[in-house]
Structure formats: structure tokens, C-alpha cells
Symmetry: none
DNA sequence: TATGAATGAGTGTTCATTCAT
DNA sequence: GATGAATGAACACTCATTCAT
């Protein structure tokens, strides 16, 4: 048994450490992203986490990997909210509106994250695709439902809409008079077919 | 008149090369901004213009000065288009739509410029204000006309709208399926009061 | 005791190379200071030490930090020599003379260091204060002893004297016929009350 | 006559302009040297004089040439004061003291000039030699008179003394508690043979 | 001859990334 | 594995000096 323990424990122990580090990094990154944006220096994140910089590179080889990991849960929640809202809301368009609202909420509370949905940053393609790959299908489902209900025209692409919403949610902190949620709502309202 | 021209020219003459350089810089900057964004290294712009770096600093002490100079004419044209469209269009809302369309056109053809309308860049306040100070009043005039015509509700701030449009026009190049003009049109459509 | 040593060493071990680098930097800086003055380019010092520039900034964030580190030991030795000389010399004035001599010795062998005691360089206040804060009290003690012994008048300020000696020790290399020690001795001689 | 005028006048006219410029430059340099030291940017001096930078280079190819020209008159006055003081003062040593006092006065009122008497600045050899070549003989004369009068020992070199005084006069502005005149007087006092 | 625009080497400083310990 | 020291490319900015006008 001692033998078994010896063989089994160390890897587990290591993994325990590693996991602790990974979690520390995620927490630290979340904090730093809020304070300094997702482009914050690697050092800053490492320092906040209390680990070496090498540890970041081990767990998250690219910055995109780290950002994805930081927001994975919230993205997932957003994904899951789609069908739920569709089931609960009075109309598909109302569900869409609420879901977009939720998405904007998510973006604006994560300083700088929305900026990563922009395409002109080199190296962020991975990141953009990760988010869009997960959220676009949900959005598409909501859109389709609204189309089927005759509430909106069928000529809007889910991906394009997500990009637009992402853009609208950019750079909030500097301007307290800019309400991304409101702007997004206007855009969604613009989707309606005149009846 | 020829005489007058002759007398007026000399003071300007001295800068024949200087003006050539200034224009070369503006052209170079416009090109580089498209290729690498408005944050492109000073050296790159200087190289593209075929001048030394010091020359940039002489003509445009800060980056904002250069960006403003690059887009000054186009901004002015945009400003002047407002009243013209208002006079020509069938309804105020149509004028607004067309003007926004023109604004987006301007932004999306100038890679990276739209990004400067974001607030989270330090040191770009001057720039943002320059653009907004000129365009917001025009937008406000168009909005008010539409409000007066009962076409849209009166609860939209011109500055907020400009910011939204600016955001929608960000990061186009990476995604050929994203049509900023369309998205902007949707947002403007969303302004309409249901009749 | 071997055990204690073993336990004490490890925390220091990790920095085996760092310490080597730090020492290399101190040596290199001392050399370069002699050749090019304390204002020598950071790159030159890094090259002389065979390290990257970042390494200098890691170890010595400001230039003053580096200069202080380079001369710390010698300043300390000078500080400690004061009381020793006072105890050993025949008279307080003799002790003062010898101590000043030692100080000049220190300064003239460190090219450019004396120049840092000048006040007209911006950003060197820290440095000047570091040196003066340590040496002025010693000088004051020696002065007071001489005053008490009736050898010199009591109207000389230690800080002022240090500044004067520092100035006298400046810019030696260019003129082999200039003997700072001699000049300093004359000044100290001038302190004597005529008897 | 018209011919003569044509040939003779233009060069004279030109010289009048050139002289005006030269004087303007000297005035400007004197002003700027006080404000920013003798190492002030060429541009600053040109701007103060209201001329182009090329004009400075035409009149004063090197910085040393400009500095020399700026202080030529005062140096000359200092030179002439030597014999005068020797004739007027009670003793040669008193004359020496007064002359040194005058020299220090000259230096400390010219910000940064004293620093140029230091040898560790590259390219200032010309400057140093210009000043010393003129002042050392005067100092030597005063020293010799004092030696002849038995007031001071004969082992002090005039050039060395001038260098020492120059050094003592360096970097005054930053320290209101440093009195260069006093320090110089102490040094001169130290020259006296004990009687 | 005067001007001042242009040049570009020089310098400080930051920070992503690697790798010896 | 984890650490964080080291690297060095990248960049902004200054200013002495040259030279076209």
C-alpha cells in the first residue's frame, strides 16, 4: 500500500498543486482583467496570482487560452440561458431581447473583453472563434424562433449580430453616458418587421 | 489677380519641400493606418513617407495631431453632409439613416479610426473629442428633426448614438461577413416609434 | 554550524547567477564610470557586463541605484574611518586633514563620482543626499573636535565643506598637474585659526 | 563712384547684418546660459536670438566658440583687474584674495560656466584652455608677488589654483547654503605661510 | 548669407518569452 | 513542475548637425 501510495499520490499531489495554481491564475487574471484590461502585462497577472511567469505559460500557452479559461463558465451560462429564456419568455423576440441583454451584461462587466471580439488584433482569432462558436448557435436558435414567429425578418445572420453586439459593448468605462444595453436593445428592436 | 497670386505665394514658397513632406506624411499615415492601425510605429509611417522620424515630430507633435490631420477633410465633409441630407431627403429619419450610413462608410474605410472613438485608450481623449465635437452637433440636429417629425422618440442622446455607431464600425477587415452599414441601419431603425 | 550554514545557504543559492550578474554589473559600471562618467549609456554598461539591458533595470531600477551600489562599500569605509582617525591622530585638525585626504582619494579614484555631488543635475538629488547624509555627520564630528580643541573657528558648516571638497575632486583625469588632494589640504589648512 | 559703391557697400552692409546677428546671438546665449546652462540646446539659443540655427553654426562653429565669445569681455576685465588690485591692495596676499573673489564672482553669476572648466567633458578642451590661457598668467603674477613678499610658499602652481577655484565655483544654484566665495577664501587663506 | 526643415544616431524604457536553476 | 532572472526586440522621443531653398 505504501508502494501504491507512493506511485499514486505524487501525481495526484502534483495535480493538486497544479490545479491550485490554475485556479489562482484564473482568479488573478479575472481581477487583473477588470483592473487593466485583457491586455495587461503577464507579469501583473503572475504577481497577482503569486506564481512565476513560467507557470502562466505552462497552463495557458497563449493569452487567448487564459482569457477563454477565465470566461468559460460565464460563456457557458450564457449559452445555457438561451433555451431557458426561449421557453420562459412570452415571445421569441422578447427572449432574444433578454438574451442579448444578458450577453451585453456579461461583456460590459468584463473590462476589455468585448474589445477582444474585435478582429483587428493579431493573435486573437482563436479567442474570437471560441466565443463565437459557442454563442452563435444559441443566438441563431433564438433568431430562428423569432423568424418563425413572424416577428423579425429572416435576413439577419446570427454571427453578424453577435459581432455587432460585441462591438456595442466595447469601451464602456470611459463614458458613463454610454449605455451599451440600451444601444443593443435598439438594435434588436430594429430587427422587428413592421406589422 | 496674377499679381496678387504672385505676392501671396512667396511666404508659402519657402515650404515647398515642407509641404511636400507634410502631404507625403499624410498619405503615408493614411496608408499605414489602413495596414497597421492608428497605433502603428512612428518609424513605419516615416519610412512609408520616405522621411526621417524627426520630420513627423516637427509636423505632428503628437500622434493625435497626425490622425486628426489625416481625417480632417473627411470629417468636415461628413459634417457638411448633415444639413444637405436633411434638406434633400424625404423625411428626417431618412436623412438620419443616410447620414449615419455615410458616417459608417467613412469609418469602415479608415481602418482603425473607429477604434479611436473608443474611450479606453489613454491619450486619445484629444482625438475622440475632436471628432465628436464636430460630428455630435450634426447628429443632434438630424435627431431633433426626426423627433420633431414624430418619427423617433426623443430619448436618444446624439453623443451616445455616435459612440454606438463608432463601435459598430470597429474591426471590420477581419470579417467579410460583417456589414457595419447594415448593423448601423438596424440600430437607426430601432429608433423609430412604432406607429 | 555546518548544518546552520547549509540551512542558511539555500535561500541564497537560487540567486547564484543573479548575484554573479549583479556583481558583473557593479564591476562593469565601475569600469564604464571611469571611462565615460556616471552618465554613460545604459547599453554601454550592459554590454560591458555582458548582460541584457533588462538585467540592469531589474537590479538597479534607476541610475542612482546603480551608482550608489557601486560606491556603497567605499562610502561606508570612509564613514568608519572618521572616528578611527580621530582616535589615532595627534590632533583633531590632523585627523580632519587625514580624513579629508581619504575622502578625496576615494573621489578622485572614482571618475565622475565627484561630479554627482554637484547639484545642477536633475534627478541626482537622491544620489547626492545618499552620500552627504552619510558623510556629513562624520565630517561634522571631526570639525567639532577641532573646534573644541581650539584649532579651527566654529563657523564652518560640515555640509558646505563636503561640497567644497567634492567640487575640488572633480574632473581630474584631464589635467595631470592638478592635485585635488593638495588643494583640499590647502582648504583645510585655511580653516585654522591663526595662533 | 557708383561702381565703387557697388563694390564696397554690399560687403559692408552684409557685415552690418552679420554683426547684428552676432550680437543678438551673444545676448541670447548669455540669457539662455543663465536660464539653462551652457549645455542648453542650440535651438533654444537660436530661438531666443530670433535667428536660424544655421546662423549660429556660421558664427560659432562649436559650442566652445560661442561660450568664449559670450564671456570674452568679462574674462578680459578679470585679466585687467589683476595688476590693478596688486597696485591698490595693502599686501600681495590681499590682492590675490580680492582677485580670486572677483573671479569666483564672475563664475558663480554665470550658471554652468564653471562646470566647463572641468576636464571630463569631451570637446571642451578648447574652452578650458581659452580661459586658463588668459587668466593663469594674471594669477601667476599675483601669486609671485605674494611669494616675493614672503606671504605664501612658492610651491603653488597658478594653473592648479585656477582649476581649484573653478571647481569650487561649480553647481551653486542647487544649494543656497554653499558659498563658493567663502570656500575660495579659505583656500587662499590656506596658502599663507605660518609666521 | 540666412533660414529652418530634414536627418538619423543615440538613448531610455517596457515587456513577451525563454530557460537555467 | 515551478520559479523568476535574463534576454533583446521594439518603440518613443530628443537634438546636434547638415543642406536645400
Amino acid at each position: 500500500m505504501a508502494d501504491t501510495a507512493k506511485r499514486a499520490d505524487p501525481p495526484v499531489r502534483k495535480r493538486a498543486d497544479a490545479r491550485r495554481n490554475e485556479q489562482a491564475l484564473l482568479d488573478a487574471a479575472a481581477t487583473v482583467f477588470v483592473a487593466s484590461g485583457v491586455q495587461a502585462p503577464v507579469r501583473e497577472i503572475a504577481a497577482q496570482a503569486g506564481v512565476g511567469m513560467g507557470t502562466i505559460y505552462r497552463h495557458f500557452p497563449t493569452r487567448a487560452d487564459l482569457i477563454i479559461a477565465v470566461y468559460r463558465h460565464q460563456v457557458q451560462a450564457c449559452v445555457e440561458a438561451g433555451p431557458a429564456l426561449l421557453a420562459a419568455a412570452e415571445t421569441p423576440h422578447a427572449a432574444l431581447t433578454q438574451w442579448i441583454d444578458r450577453f451585453v451584461d456579461f461583456l460590459v462587466t468584463k473590462h476589455g473583453l468585448a474589445a477582444t471580439l474585435r478582429a483587428d488584433q493579431q493573435g486573437f482569432d482563436t479567442l474570437i472563434h471560441y466565443f463565437l462558436d459557442r454563442l452563435v448557435p444559441v443566438c441563431a436558435q433564438l433568431l430562428q424562433a423569432a423568424v418563425d414567429a413572424g416577428q423579425i425578418s429572416d435576413d439577419v445572420d446570427a454571427r453578424e449580430l453577435m459581432r455587432a453586439i460585441g462591438n456595442l459593448s466595447v469601451g464602456i468605462e470611459g463614458d458613463p453616458d454610454y449605455d451599451a444595453r440600451r444601444m443593443a436593445a435598439l438594435l434588436v428592436a430594429g430587427l422587428r418587421v413592421s406589422t
